[in-house]
Symmetry: C2
């Protein structure tokens, strides 16, 4: 067996009492994530030399904390996102004290994982917003009828919100069944566009088991939806990638962080914000990634959020840069500080706060839009 | 709008400085997981009274630690596993200090989520093993050819292993392409069965993006595989459920814990072993759940593993009990202690350790089989 010699690399943050212990942990990752076999029994030759991961370097970065880069043959990932993630963090997700910091993929692998269809430039072009920050809100609360949600959608689009998405908790509840909801909401956003001349889109939440998710995507597209919301920790990262890559759909995908928190909130293990919300979400085909902003009702720090933004645009070969879409408990007052961190390459997501700013939703939206117009 | 009045309930472990703070956190969960809307703006009527979650009780269980039961209208979950999980732990996965301890579903919901096709009884019947503990091993290491893996499969089945599965890292690598591997391995296990008269099965790892996963399931079934291995954190819990529920496939499903660790290894947040590996994996259709046993090279405690076993058989209406399949760095010497914890309703998974016990794999398998025969 001959392998290509091409390798991808992962930086892991490791905890260890000593350099020797940290190196032993890094070596353990090399085996655990590939052959999962007793070291002494690994067959000599290309399995031992190339299939088993390789510690490229290890350095101490703090007290009992080390950073190691480990490389793996691209053939171990077999050109699939699910297996790439398995090699990066499958079994070792169960071993405390190991955190994935970042990924580096050679062209041989990044070309096989298509990533987002639109990315930043494509989404700007679709929305006809060349320069200013984009605006994003969520239809809620659960329990409203399809007609009531469509009315909210209409006012948001009329008020200048570029992306009007379902709240991630709206699926197919009896209060607003999927097909009726997406039909009415898409129609409402279209009607607003005809009045404003804008190109706002309604984004339908299609998160479900995979076959049903494809079914809902088709219904939504036929009804005039302009994109899809997927919570990949619920639906599967590969399932999101399949929606993004489906040429018969051809619409942008927005990733929602529901059920994802466990990967990031424990600083000593899991996956870094940079790698998970940035790099991995890109590889899984999202054009924008929603996550909780610093200073809101969740716990991400300003530094972690800046890390996500960096991960959405870090060089990954041909994989397009995507938009960070920070949200979660944000209010209009926080927009200037967010611009200081993200610059204009951002989609501001304001949900409940948009309803709370003042009694008139349309006016709230216009106020919000005016605030970002100055960054045109 | 009239709701049914049926509710499901979740026990959450919460951290809080005081009872008041813990209650405020519980109340926050009620809103965050349903309407995700400022409390003062939640519409009066059934949305406020029934859609918003309800704190049923809250009790102090330790220093700054509380247990709360929160109930939700079954309509919020809209009869889908993905949305049920979203209500249980979607956004709050991003808030530290909240852990899901257990679920309680009314028949109105458990009847909609079919759960496993076989369960413990069905799998025993399929394997023709009425009473003793079952045996399970993994084909490895990655890098072997399909023929070499089939040879390992043959010896394992001949030696009396009931379930011979692909290692979870075997997908479609060039060293052993999927179709060739499953064809050869299924044939090898069939050949061994003809010699032994047993009903061992070869279980193919089909973990991939959803459409490809269905494709591989069909290929594997046609080739004579007797079950499917799925890593649901990579493929999606809903995707696993879809494979389990597909009548055209009709084979057992085994769940692998790759990429799942982040949900459980941080004791102050995430999901309990009982709920995640036990209850949720059952709801997602697995007939057996693989997880790292206590005392192996992973970190789960004896108590956590006993919790998993309890979750695999706790009353969940019509959802069948499934098998715990503890593995990970186990050796033959540990079998007696494992029997003390699990009793005979267990599938022992021994991977690398089976190869290490002695130089002759067939003899190792027979030794292992003899050890459980006494529990017939």
């Amino acid at each position: 067996m001959r392998l290509s010699g091409e390798r991808f690399a992962v930086k892991y943050r490791l905890q260890g009492e000593s350099r020797e212990e940290a190196h032993a942990r890094a070596r353990d990752i090399c085996l655990e994530q590939t052959v999962e076999f007793p070291e002494e029994l690994v067959p000599a030759g290309f399995i031992r030399d190339e299939i088993v991961g390789r510690v490229e370097w290890l350095e101490e970065t703090g007290r009992k904390t080390y950073l190691a880069e480990i490389s793996f043959a691209v053939e171990t990932a077999a050109d699939e996102l699910t297996q790439l993630l398995n090699v990066i963090y499958g079994n070792i997700s169960i071993k405390p004290g190991i955190r994935v910091e970042s990924l580096r993929l050679p062209p041989a692998l990044s070309e096989k994982l298509r990533g987002p269809r639109f990315g930043r430039d494509g989404l700007r072009s679709l929305l006809n917003v060349p320069r200013r920050p984009l605006l994003h809100t969520a239809l809620k609360p659960m329990g409203l009828t399809a007609g009531e949600l469509a009315d909210v959608a209409y006012r948001c689009a009329l008020g200048g919100i570029d992306i009007v998405k379902d709240d991630h908790g709206l699926t197919n509840q009896c209060s607003a069944p999927f097909a009726e909801r997406v039909g009415r909401c898409a129609e409402a956003v279209g009607k607003a566009n005809r009045l404003t001349g804008a190109s706002s889109i309604y984004v339908a939440n299609i998160t479900a088991a995979p076959a049903e998710m494809v079914n809902r995507a088709q219904i939504a597209k036929a009804a005039g939806a302009g994109g899809f919301l997927v919570s990949p920790a619920l639906a599967g990262l590969g399932a999101m990638g399949q929606i993004a890559g489906d040429d018969s759909l051809g619409l942008p995908v927005i990733s929602h962080p529901a059920f994802q928190g466990s990967y990031c909130i424990n600083p000593a293990s899991g996956i870094s914000h940079y790698a998970y919300y940035g790099q991995i979400t890109r590889l899984a085909g999202a054009d924008a990634v929603v996550y909780p902003n610093f200073g809101g009702r969740f716990s991400f720090s300003r530094e972690e959020c800046a890390g996500i933004a960096a991960g959405t645009m870090a060089d990954m070969g041909g994989i397009k840069a995507i938009f960070p879409s920070p949200g979660g408990g944000m209010s209009l007052e926080k927009v200037p500080e967010m611009l200081a961190v993200y610059g204009r390459e951002v989609i501001f997501l304001i949900g409940g706060g948009l309803f709370r700013h003042g009694p008139d939703l349309l006016q709230n939206c216009r106020h919000f839009r005016a605030m970002v117009e100055q960054y045109e």
